[in-house]
């Protein structure tokens, strides 16, 4: 067993794993009981597992726990709560940009990282920024509207 110190949503957490290659996703979901990051493919193809590490969107399903080091991890829970959502979360709620919602963690995390670097993005830039996040329900048009709304309100 190796013990890993992780900084998650501003708190120091300790996680034990018998394999340093274990993807961060399993530590977040199973050891820290977080529901935000989701298992979609485990292959880095869909974005459902996205978290933000030091300001960058990262696919936690292919990020070995041992590679995170002192990186500051933010999950969907770390952005806001139903009572106090972050601007991006609030925009998704306002636009009702959810069907099943399974992809939405990835959409909100990716958009949050994107908007922190890009002010006043065009619709085309938003679509490109989300191009590697898959949604099967076809919620795309609402998601783009939500990110546009968030961009205006940040």
């Amino acid at each position: 067993m190796t013990h890993f110190q992780l900084s998650v949503n501003g708190r120091q957490e300790q996680v034990s794993a018998d394999d340093p290659e274990m993807p961060l996703l399993y530590a977040l979901r199973n050891d820290l009981s977080l529901h935000g990051p989701r298992f979609g493919c485990g292959l880095g193809q869909c974005g459902a597992c996205t978290v933000i590490i030091d300001g960058e969107a990262a696919r936690s399903c292919i990020t070995p726990i041992s590679s995170v080091g002192e990186g500051k991890i933010t999950t969907l829970e770390g952005l806001g709560t139903p009572e106090h959502p972050s601007p991006v979360q609030a925009a998704f709620i306002e636009e009702q940009a959810v069907q099943c919602g399974y992809c939405i963690n990835g959409m909100i995390m990716q958009a949050t990282a994107f908007l922190s670097k890009t002010k006043n993005p065009t619709e085309g830039e938003i679509r490109e920024a989300l191009a590697s996040n898959l949604c099967r329900c076809g919620t795309h048009v609402r998601i783009v509207r939500a990110v546009q709304r968030a961009a205006r309100e940040i």
């Binding site: 794993a17 018998d18 394999d19 274990m22 993807p23 399993y26 979901r29 199973n30 009981s33 977080l34 529901h35 935000g36 989701r38 298992f39 979609g40 493919c41 485990g42 292959l43 193809q45 869909c46 459902a48 999950t75 969907l76 829970e77 952005l79 806001g80 709560t81 139903p82 959502p85 979360q89 998704f92 709620i93 009702q96 959810v98 069907q99 099943c100 919602g101 399974y102 992809c103 939405i104 909100i108 085309g124 938003i126 679509r127 490109e128 989300l130 191009a131 590697s132 996040n133 898959l134 949604c135 099967r136 329900c137 076809g138 919620t139 795309h140 048009v141 609402r142 998601i143 783009v144």
Partner: protein, 736 residues
């Protein structure tokens, strides 16, 4: 090939196929808490108000719905219906869905039936309850029921008030559902017809929501199933020595061809699975992919379903001035849920509890009971929201995986999370479908003959068989169940001679099931594209012809509004554009099942001739689904249908070799991504006085034909095959 009922031979060989090898002593598996016995018995039949509703002492109303929310917003819409009918606040409604112990069996959540059927059953119960409450209040207050007013669950006569909670809080109604109970007049409704915000969205956007995949039980173990590398392979043997070196490994479970690994951690289960060396027999029972539709055509038809017959088609085809023939094909599709299927099962004192995202927990309960040979009353399935399934995906199979594995490890709670390849390869598929079309026009360009022949799997049985049971050779109640695939083979147009027939095939390459708009999508693709071919041959405008030949005022209004919305340019197709990059528009229309919602779509596309690439620029849709419960919810469904079906039409296809499915992930089975998503414009026709029809499917059915017709308008080339890949488009343009 996927043929008939799964065999019981190995099961009957009294356990020869059963091996459970433990790394740790079985004592590690203790008793879990008895979740099945905690709920008081309440009626769940369809005849009693108490089956559907209970008023709490705090004035909340708990609603028990057999229909579940598959991410479509049904929970919100059902709450609106009940709150409105009962005159209570929206916030006073608590909805319990899909728990087989407490909810009535209202049938599976499929076929756009949740509001149309399930919702109205619940609304009837609410209307019955409201009347009973008024009668009780009248007696208590010594007034006539008609003199009472109701608001927020408080019944008043002047300044005297009695609440629902005071009348029946914590007690049962003990009355039957009155099928004549009157609904409130549309003018008196305050919630139905409004875009109440969805109840689940704030939690889903903040990580506060509990999906099926988030369910955890005390002492829960993690399992993964090792699938055969060839779909019909037999497990000759296995060696799990290396898996045992994974520290969290607990057991390998085998029954016949079902092989799984159990671990105390999820990552351990994944690693141990990779470390098991399994020896499988070879199997090459799938057709060659390049000749898939030859194989479909050559499959024995065991039944002919004639879905419409008017006049004498053969005679009319003989005498027609112009005669057209065409064949349309539609590839096998996977449901492609973004979250692979997942379930948790545990067995306490012989009673199985299964948490599942199944769209039909009541049917699953019976299937699990059969598989494990235990009485149905000892099985409880509890619905938890999963990722969208769009039909019968792998949810039920994950549930049976978890149940079987739990039964092999002393009933311990077991969580099975399917991996991406489990879902892509092993979910039941929308079957490959073929349609032969024939049409004839007279000298004036009037269509006088229409004939279609559909080649689609037969329906044998009521359930899709559980994959677990098939591999484990357990008893099964499943058969071939592709869904209502012959619907909308008949056409909504007034043509003098029509014959439409479905050849129901005895087998199909993959275990089939319904995927969003089963059959209706394939049939409407062929119908609406072929109609366009006939009209083009007579140089007729596609919109005008439909308007003149549907003889249905609601259809006519819909098309008139669609023409306006899309700025329809009245002229025949094709547009005769030149140049490498050309644009076109196409129309498709359906009256769903010929008895339900009406929907029309206009697609605008751009085609690059030299590359064969199609870009869908815009989709305009108008839908009439009768009385709308939640307009924004309906819009969300239509948008989803249009985007998802654009993806299915342009790029989706299950690929395979002779042994198995080779489209195993999102790289080998790509779906649409943000840059390619079209602009969507939706207009709703609300008819508060009319019956509500479901919106989960109808607008999907029209998309493939609208795109095909638009490509024809742009290029003059006709695409008769889904997916419309660049290679097919390029070849069709080249032929032209």
């Amino acid at each position: 090939m996927f043929e008939t009922l799964t065999t019981r031979r190995d099961f009957l060989r009294t356990g020869t196929g059963l091996v459970v090898s433990f790394a740790l002593a079985p004592a590690v598996f203790g008793a879990a808490e008895a979740s099945i016995s905690k709920v008081n018995p309440k009626p769940t039949d369809l005849d009693h108000v108490d089956s559907f509703l209970a008023v709490g002492t705090d004035g909340t109303v708990t609603v028990y719905s057999g229909k579940v929310d598959l991410g479509t917003g049904v929970k919100t819409a059902l709450s609106q219906m009940v709150a409105d009918e009962l005159d209570i606040g929206f916030q006073q409604v608590i909805l319990i869905t899909g728990d087989t112990m407490t909810t009535p069996d209202q049938g599976p959540t499929y076929g756009s039936s949740s509001i149309e059927m399930g919702g109205f059953e619940i609304r009837k119960a609410a209307a019955t309850a409201r009347k009973a409450l008024l009668d009780m209040a009248a007696q208590k207050l010594h007034v006539e029921p008609a003199s009472l007013t109701v608001s927020g669950g408080r019944i008043s006569s002047g300044n005297r008030t009695v609440t629902y909670a005071e009348l029946v809080g914590g007690k049962s109604f003990s009355i039957g559902v009155d099928s004549n109970a009157a609904f409130k007049a549309p003018s008196a409704l305050t919630l139905i017809g409004t875009s109440v915000k969805r109840v689940d969205i704030p939690d889903k956007c903040t990580g506060a929501f509990t999906y099926m995949q988030d369910v955890r039980r005390e002492g829960m173990l993690h399992a993964r199933v090792i699938r055969p590398p060839a779909m019909g392979a037999e497990l000759v043997g296995f060696d799990d020595a290396e898996a045992k070196s994974v520290p969290s490994f607990l057991a390998t479970v085998r029954q016949s061809n079902f092989l799984a690994v159990v671990s105390s951690t999820e990552w351990g289960a994944i690693k141990a699975t990779a470390a098991v060396r399994a020896n499988w027999s070879g199997w090459e029972g799938l057709p060659e992919q390049a000749k898939l539709f030859d194989a479909v055509r050559a499959t024995k038809s065991i039944k002919e379903d004639i879905t419409s017959s008017v006049g004498d088609v053969q005679a009319a085809l003989k005498t027609a001035a112009t005669h057209l023939d065409a064949t349309y094909d539609f590839a096998a599709h996977t449901h492609g849920s973004i979250g692979p299927s997942c379930a948790v099962a545990e067995i306490v004192d012989g009673k199985l509890t299964c948490w599942t995202a199944s769209q039909s927990t009541h049917a699953l309960r019976l299937q699990l009971a059969t598989m494990l040979a235990i009485p149905p009353e000892n099985v409880r399935c509890i619905y938890m929201d999963g990722a969208g399934c769009y039909g019968r995906n792998g949810h039920e199979d994950a549930a049976s995986d978890a149940a079987l594995i739990s039964s092999k490890v002393g009933g311990k709670p077991v969580r099975v999370q399917w991996m991406r390849a489990d879902e892509h390869v092993w979910d039941p598929k929308g079957p490959p479908t073929l349609l032969d079309m024939k049409g004839g026009l007279d000298g004036n360009g009037e269509i006088v003959a229409w004939s279609s022949s559909l080649f689609t799997p037969a329906t044998m049985g009521t359930n899709v068989p559980l994959l677990t049971g098939m591999l484990a050779n357990s008893p099964s109640t499943g058969g071939i169940v592709p869904g209502g695939v012959t619907a909308d083979l008949a056409i909504p147009y007034d043509i003098a001679n029509v014959h439409t027939v479905a050849h129901r095939l005895e087998s199909t390459p993959f275990r089939p099931a319904w995927i969003r708009s089963p059959g209706r999508m394939q049939n409407t693709f062929a119908n609406e594209s072929f109609l366009d071919e006939l009209l083009a041959s007579a140089s007729l405008d596609p919109m005008s012809y439909r308007l003149e030949h549907i003889n249905d005022p609601r259809g006519e209004e819909l098309l008139t509004r669609l023409a306006k919305l899309s700025g329809w340019d009245e002229r025949p197709s094709p547009r005769k554009s030149t140049g490498d990059v050309c644009q076109g528009r196409g129309l498709a229309y359906v009256h769903y099942d010929l008895t339900r919602a009406w929907v029309g779509v206009v697609a605008e596309v751009e085609v690059v001739r030299s590359k064969g690439t199609i870009r869908v620029l815009r989709l305009f849709a108008v839908q009439d689904c009768g009385q709308i419960i939640n307009p924004d919810g309906v819009r969300n469904q239509i948008e989803g249908n249009l985007v998802q079906t654009t993806s299915r039409t342009l790029m989706e296809e299950v690929t395979f070799d002779r042994s198995t499915v080779t489209s195993t992930d999102w790289a080998s089975y790509p779906i649409i991504t943000f840059p390619d998503v079209p602009e969507i414009v939706v207009e709703l026709i609300d008819r508060p006085e009319e019956k509500s029809f479901g919106s989960g499917e109808p607008s999907a059915a029209v998309v493939p034909a609208a795109i095909s017709n638009a490509v024809f308008d742009a290029t003059g080339a006709r695409i008769r095959s889904v997916p419309m890949t660049p290679a097919k488009v390029w070849a069709a343009i080249g032929d032209h």
